[in-house]
Amino acid sequence: MITDRVQRLKDRFLSVKPNITPERLLLITEAYKKYSGEPRHLFRGKTLAYVLDNLSITIHDEELIVGVPTYSLRGALLFPEYTSTDWLMEEIPEFPTREMDQIDVTEEDKKIILDCLESFWEGKAIEDILYDILPEDTMAMYDNSIIDLGQTNTISGEIVPDYKTLLSKGLRGYIEDCEDRIRTGAADTLEAQEKLDFWRACIIICEAVIRFANRYAEKALELAEKESDMTRKAELLEIASNCRNVPENPPRGFYEALQFVWFIHLVYHIEGPTTACSFGRFDQVLFPYMQMDMDAGAFDEDKSQEILECFFLKCGEVIEVRDKYYSKGFAGFPMWAIIMVGGLGMDGEDATNKLSYMCLTAGADVRTAQPVLAMRISDKTPDDLFRQASEMIQAGMAQPGLFNDDVNMKIIRSKGGTEEEALNWNVVGCTQPQYGGGSSDCFPDAGYVNYAKCLEFVLHRGIDPMTGLELGLDTGDPCEFTTKEEIIEACKKQIIFLHEKLVEASRIIQIEQAKRLPAIYSSLAIGGCIESGKSVQEGGAKHSSAGLFSTGTANLADSIVAIEYAVFKDKVITMEDLIKVLDNDFKDNERIRQYLINVPPKFGNDDPYVDSINSEICNYVAETVQGWKDARGGHYDYTLMSQSMNVPQGEDTGATPDGRHAGDALNDNASPMMGRDISGPTATVKSVASLKPENFYAGALFNLRFDPKSVEGDKGIDTIENVVRTFFREGGQHIQINVVDDATLRAAQENPEEYRGLVVRVAGYLAYFTELDKHVQDALIARTAHGGC
């Protein structure tokens, strides 16, 4: 049961629109002027320390967990060292009214921001620098939704830190560790010298974070003195005591542990524009501190639940500012702050504990888009935990996302993880499995390749029909093709070509990030960085990897089979005419479009013929690209994941032979094309499992939508569990389920005011449906809602 306090905090949160303040922009500008000329590690350390030392300190009414990025609630920070002034100056005036992910900014602040950007930052952001040096053809591909390049204006290294070690040592422990290394370290080469700089920078930042927390302690004391309500006064005094102790020292109980984790998490979002900083195996890492309370006889379950829910609400307070395009590709302000519960322990037995259940309860109570709950499922998962999760899903909460322990552990082993790292596996990013224990830096988003566009290249001999630019390969005259195998081969060539271009660019991005913006604070608690004296950008992590994403994979497989049926088999149209029909977006050819939609089989219906083509292509690409090395010697992780990039990439893609109209969204993630899976959910999950997700180092994201009527009552809970268990038994890696009917979504479109709390799954994350733009809303409604009979 949600307490009155948590309800009020939530209502306050939802009543406020995301907004930006000039606070960090002004501070980082001062810091850049002050420390200009310092070597890069120290520069990074000192500028972050300067921002932390000067950020305003705000404790909102009734809060139990404290720490905010800026003074206004849901306020976002600006990162001019990452984000190009070009688009910021152009788009900030439109932020409050733009179609998608609107952001408020006051007139006064707008002027301050624009003046500051104009006077100092033009051309200085890494985004500007990269756009100048990236190859011209790659940039043209990027500009036209053929590929998407990741981390061009965000911090490289979205992470799950080693919270276990952080909590056990406190930041003081890290400072001492670095001091030891500096004492004994040599300084006789440039490389050795840079290690010393790295450790010095770590110390500078840790001290600054400790000061930051102590300023919260002072603020709490100040408020306590003025407070007349004795209960709140006591709370503020406790907050002060917490902030004095953590994150400098190990927490003395569960409450302090949560405050510790929040400070650490918050500062990731002050160091750089970042997302997907997750909490890892939250129940495993934090339970010992709850146990500490229990052992001391001080455990109060209701109080702990309330503090946990206050922590959950804090997670929505950090927001990343994105431009117009990415506000569609990553719709709904996703931050991918994932809390993982359940799963196997180091002994191979189920490790569920009391906190696992409490986290699910907290998610069900607060029902906010952040954090995102994820749950590991094995054969040993307790029935009551699974049931609690299924009840949440049945009630339409769209979480937790469910992960198959067995397949994810296999993935970790196959990409070189130890048995311990496999047992302790965790999600980094959205749904991508990574080595457990905080030793993996993931450069999660090297970029996305548009697979539907690859077919357009095949059909137009390397010319992009939308722009007329020759950006693909000439794979021969398609009118000479007589078998589907020839089309498949040509598509594979185009796909690999685009992946090569993408990877070439991603290496340049990685190198520039390492040269200019090593993220010292984000590297601090990643296993391997302190030991090696290097940031994650410089390859300091024990495991480095970069994610390669794919969009429109189902459209491609469906289209290849559609061409085979229409042109080679039934001969209802010639290849030449088909290409013309596609170029005209089926104008005056609806009959052919109906043939293409209804006659050839489609992915998602447990039809091995088309499913195996999807699987063949994806597995071929995975096998090829996963052998490549990134600029740091890390490997590339392939994944069937589009986020909501299927919407903007679809907008720039012409009509496809599967009957999809030009500009329509492509299929989302690993799921079938919207509306084409018409054989029920059992068929859909089997098709997705047949893609063999265990072969993809970063998995395969799968969205399934049920009509609420089909999963009603106790039998409905059983049905959800059975579908999930069977999907996992068939080899599924991840599944997330929306239980919501069309009528509700349409009503929410019509009357957003009444539905502002309606949370839906977009991709690996949750978003408020009414805050999504209409195109993304429509794509969600178009997902097949599976009913039963």
Partner: protein, 307 residues
């Protein structure tokens, strides 16, 4: 081996026709003609065409293709002169938008099993299996028998969904098979005359068959009564009491109440059949009936997609 039948549909993820996640196989042809039938396109034993007007794009290909000249197309979609239609399928072959399709497909047991086996893991995890429905499966005794044996060979449990109208020996044989776990058995009306008026056949044979099933310890346990309830037709106290009396007398326990729904009407219209619109009992009345049956010691539930 090698029997074929006209199969209307093989419905996966069927969660209302027996326990767990099931695949329901619909056999075409039924000796009854219930006025409220929700699968009216499955009544005739022969192939027929069905139209989906909203899918029509007005391309007129069907008009040209029909050898009888029996199709017209308007803004409201295609219309077939069903009196002259021989279900030759020429229209379907050229209708790419699937606005005209055959109701059923002739399949062998092996072909049906291929579909059934795709969801085997779902049955195992959920305690589900195959439901044989219709139409009326007793019209397809040989085929149903072979299908049950094929399921048995694969270790898949079977539910029979029957009106109970057919040969007693055949019903006893099918229901007695080891892998048949449940026999979903309809009680539509307790009065013979009324039954005849509403369904085209009297209920004497049906009740006699029910008694035969109940007389055998093995098959009695499998009986799962289903009562389609239509307001003003078979939901009176008198009716419900009579049905309850019978169930108690025969030592039956499990009963599902299925409120009338209108989903059959469009299908009747789209196959050129007559139809009558009925009303479902109110939710309160359904509850009342359910409580009454529970009070009689029966394991009763309200199920189905209802109203």
């Amino acid at each position: 081996m090698g029997h074929t039948a006209l199969i209307g549909d093989i419905q996966k993820f069927s969660t209302q026709d027996g326990p767990g996640i099931r695949t329901t196989v619909f056999l075409k042809g039924c000796p009854l003609n219930c006025a409220w039938c929700h699968n009216p396109e499955m009544i005739k034993p022969d192939q027929q065409m069905i139209i989906s007007p909203s899918r029509c794009i007005g391309c007129m290909a069907c008009v040209e293709a029909c050898p009888e000249g029996g199709i017209t197309v308007t803004d409201e979609g295609p219309s077939i002169d069903f009196s002259s239609c021989r279900a030759c399928g020429e229209c379907h072959a050229v209708c790419f938008s699937k606005a005209i399709t055959p109701v059923a497909r002739e399949m062998t047991v092996d072909e049906v099993m291929e579909k059934v086996l795709q969801d085997r893991n779902f049955y195992e995890n959920s305690g589900g299996g195959v439901t044989i429905s219709g139409g009326e499966l007793l019209l397809h005794y040989e085929f149903a028998s072979e299908l049950i044996r094929a399921c048995e060979k694969e270790g898949i449990g079977v539910c029979l969904d029957t009106s109970g109208y057919g040969d007693t020996g055949q019903l006893m044989d099918l229901a007695g098979q080891a892998k048949v776990n449940h026999v979903l058995y309809d009680i539509k009306h307790m009065d013979d005359e009324e039954h005849k008026k509403l369904t085209g056949v009297g209920n004497l044979q049906i009740l006699e068959n029910l008694r035969a099933l109940a007389a055998d310890e093995n098959t009695r346990k499998k009986i799962w009564i289903r009562m389609p309830l239509i307001s003003g037709i078979n939901d009176s106290d008198e009716e419900i009491h009579a049905a309850a009396d019978l169930m108690c007398e025969l030592g039956l326990s499990r009963v599902s109440l299925l409120g009338y729904h209108e989903m059959g009407i469009a299908k009747a219209r789209n196959t050129g059949a007559d139809y009558t619109r009925f009303e479902a009992p109110s939710a309160e009345r359904m509850d009342e009936i359910n409580k009454y049956l529970e009070g009689r010691g029966l394991d009763s539930e309200i199920s189905g997609i209802g109203s």
